[in-house]
């Protein structure tokens, strides 16, 4: 049996014949915190929605998704339903639209407990209260029967996390969980995610376009662009020395809170439409490092000496880094 908890192999997704995900290979180890970053429309969310069979019927999915050796892709609905919520839980960006507005929050959490752990009555209530306490909802017994609109945005996200924890999952997928929240509340939720992972030992996949938030929570990061992983490595590798021009661009675009107030460095252009992808590197039209081969050949995601994976012909080489391959040095 493999060490990995979840393994995606060559996962491809097409909507109405237009391919949006071009073969994603990804593994999540037990207890690991993995970040997935990229702009909107790069396929971050689609990857996990496809893996859990949550995409609408018009999506064609191929490839393999294994959880501890059990294949999920194409598995019958019953098999998927034991995994969803039970083994793998997912929380979304907008918590208030994920909660049922006409059912009390206590009942929504006990429902998850009944479904996944067969808890009922007082046992379920006691466990729901324990979860609410764990995610930091104060005065939980008194607020057990309140409705979602009586909670603030940050508290709704805590409720979603409590519900996700109800099935004692091995993996929590957090899809932009803090994007809609204020900075102070975002810090609280990130802190909560870190703390929960330490307490329960569950693995976390953190999907975000905010590199700052990702770096607080994760150990390993995958950068996605136009339906492919373009760079993958540990937080330290990617943050101290990003090599893909896209990763570098994402960093450079973040305004700084210290240092001189300089002009921002945007990435020119926008994410390409999946309908009009060329044979070359999808990032080439926006890339300052693009050379002749980038327009016609697509770089493969190769393992480098330091263990990171990179798909680029002309990586950004910062001072003090040994060139990875001789032929790449020219033109940089």
């Amino acid at each position: 049996m493999s060490q990995e908890l979840v393994e995606l192999r060559d996962l491809k997704v097409a909507f109405d014949g237009i391919q949006v995900l071009h073969g994603i290979d990804l593994t999540v180890g037990r207890g690991e915190a993995l970040g997935l970053v990229g702009e909107s429309g790069c396929g971050k969310s689609v990857t996990w929605l496809a893996a859990l069979g949550l995409l609408p019927g018009k999506a064609t999915i191929s490839g393999s998704v294994c959880i501890e050796g059990h294949e999920l892709c194409g598995a019958p609905r019953q098999a998927l339903e034991t995994v969803r919520g039970g083994r793998i839980a997912m929380i979304f960006q907008d918590p208030s639209s994920s909660l049922n507005p006409v059912i009390g929050i206590g009942q929504q959490i006990t429902e998850a407990l009944t479904l996944h752990r067969d808890l009922r009555g007082e046992t379920a209530r006691a466990e729901a209260l324990r979860l609410l306490d764990m995610v930091g909802i104060p005065d939980a017994p008194r607020r057990f029967n309140l409705f979602p609109h009586e909670f603030s945005g940050g508290q709704c996200q805590r409720l979603m996390i409590a519900m996700a924890l109800a099935g004692e999952p091995d993996l929590l997928i957090a899809d932009e969980p803090t994007t809609a929240l204020d900075a102070t509340i975002q810090a609280q939720i990130l802190d909560l995610l870190i703390q929960l992972r330490a307490e329960t030992g569950m693995a976390t996949v953190f999907i975000s376009h905010d590199l700052g938030a990702v770096s607080q929570v994760c150990e390993r990061v995958c950068v996605m662009y136009a339906g492919r992983i373009v760079e993958q490595g540990s937080i330290t590798q990617l943050f101290s020395n990003p090599q893909h021009p896209y990763t570098r661009g994402l960093f450079d675009a973040i305004p700084r809170l210290d240092g001189p107030r300089t002009r921002l460095v945007p990435i020119p252009g926008t994410v390409p439409n999946p309908k009009h992808l060329t044979a070359g590197c999808a990032f080439a039209p926006r890339c300052a490092h693009a050379a002749a081969p980038c327009d016609f050949h697509r770089p493969q995601l190769d393992m480098l000496e330091d263990g990171r994976r990179l798909a680029c012909f002309n990586p950004v080489l910062s001072a003090g880094t040994a060139p990875v391959r001789q032929k790449l040095v020219e033109g940089v």
């Binding site: 940050g154 204020d182 102070t184 810090a187 210290d258 945007p266």
Partner: protein, 328 residues
């Protein structure tokens, strides 16, 4: 001393909130006795959590939301009442940019028509000049000429926001109020739009009120920053010093909560609790239930905004102005 372009004094806005159909009406002080001014060509950043009254303030500055008390003075003249002919004429000189460009654009009109609309409404320029102005504006905000006949749904989020900004600039305003203009955009596109706003501001010498909850963006674009908490200004300083050496505990917590790539969360000051409900405002300093330094005086007495250094002010009992060193 340059005369202020827009000046607000003692602005107060009270919303009436009713709990349930027959519930008691409770007044909500969205903006509470707030004074500020913006110089010509200056950018004032307004930051704070949701519910702190940032957007209401922006609307009041433009006269869209009436003030219960207090005055707004634009170019030394009092703001005319909302909806009057004088107010409408004044809108040529002050414009608003919203957060969600798709909601701010009419989806059945082309981009060029919408950018042209302020010119048509206010009857500025001749017909040919209007076309030329639209073309120049589109070029200035980085839209291609062939996008003139596109509809909003055919553009990306960043392009739509560019169109909204072009429309706001069409009448050559002296002031624009931007309410979270880049919050809905990806970081890479956000940088494009922020740079563009800075360039346009330099070119046309427009004063700007930039409302955002994103401290990093505000620091980059604003000359001066006010921090709001429950409808009041708690700290005001130039954007260079306020984030480098925040004095008010709330500003300190805000600055500390900004995630910096590559730095762990440990050792940061994480503010506990949620922003309180404006309908049940805490006594004394509104921040005291969440403040780690709160003492007895904070629970009873509302702190006034006092000068605490060179061109900076804070509303906190515990910030000493006289003997504290001025931040470098």
């Amino acid at each position: 001393m340059v005369a202020a372009l827009i000046k607000a004094e003692g602005l107060t806005r009270i919303y009436e909130m009713r709990r349930g159909l027959f519930g008691k009406v409770t007044p909500v002080r969205a903006v509470d006795d707030l004074s500020l001014k913006v110089l010509p060509g200056e950018t004032l950043g307004v930051v704070g959590e949701s519910g702190s009254g940032k957007s209401t303030l922006g609307r009041m500055l433009l006269g869209i939301d009436p003030a219960e008390s207090g005055t707004v003075t634009f170019e030394d003249k009092p703001m005319p009442a909302f909806g009057t002919a004088e107010w409408r004429a004044l809108r040529v000189r002050m414009q608003l940019v919203y957060q969600d460009p798709l909601a701010a654009l009419d989806r059945r009109l082309t981009i060029a028509t919408q950018i042209r609309e302020p010119l048509d409404i206010h009857n500025l320029l001749t017909k040919d000049e209007r076309d030329a102005r639209v073309q120049a504006l589109m070029a200035a905000v980085g839209l291609r000429p062939d996008q003139a006949d596109r509809y909003p749904h055919e553009l990306s989020g960043g392009q739509r926001q560019r169109a909204v900004i072009a429309r706001a600039l069409a009448s050559r305003p002296r002031l624009i109020v931007c309410d979270e203009p880049v919050s809905a955009l990806d970081v890479s596109i956000q940088a494009q739009v922020v740079n563009m706003l800075r360039d346009l501001q330099d070119e046309f010498q427009i004063a700007m009120v930039f409302i955002s909850h994103d401290l990093k963006v505000v620091r980059n674009i604003a000359d001066r920053v006010v921090v709001m908490y429950l409808g009041r200004i708690v700290e005001e300083a130039s954007s260079d010093v306020i984030f480098a050496s925040p004095r008010h505990p709330y500003t300190q917590a805000l600055v500390s909560s900004v995630p910096v790539p590559g730095q762990p969360l440990k050792g940061r000051m994480i503010l506990q609790g949620e922003p309180p409900n404006p309908a049940s405002r805490p006594s004394g300093c509104a921040f005291h239930p969440r403040c780690p330094l709160a003492t007895d005086i904070c629970r009873t007495t509302v702190p006034m905004l006092r000068t605490v250094g060179l061109q900076r002010a804070a509303a906190c009992h515990l910030v000493e102005g006289a003997n504290a060193p001025i931040a470098a």
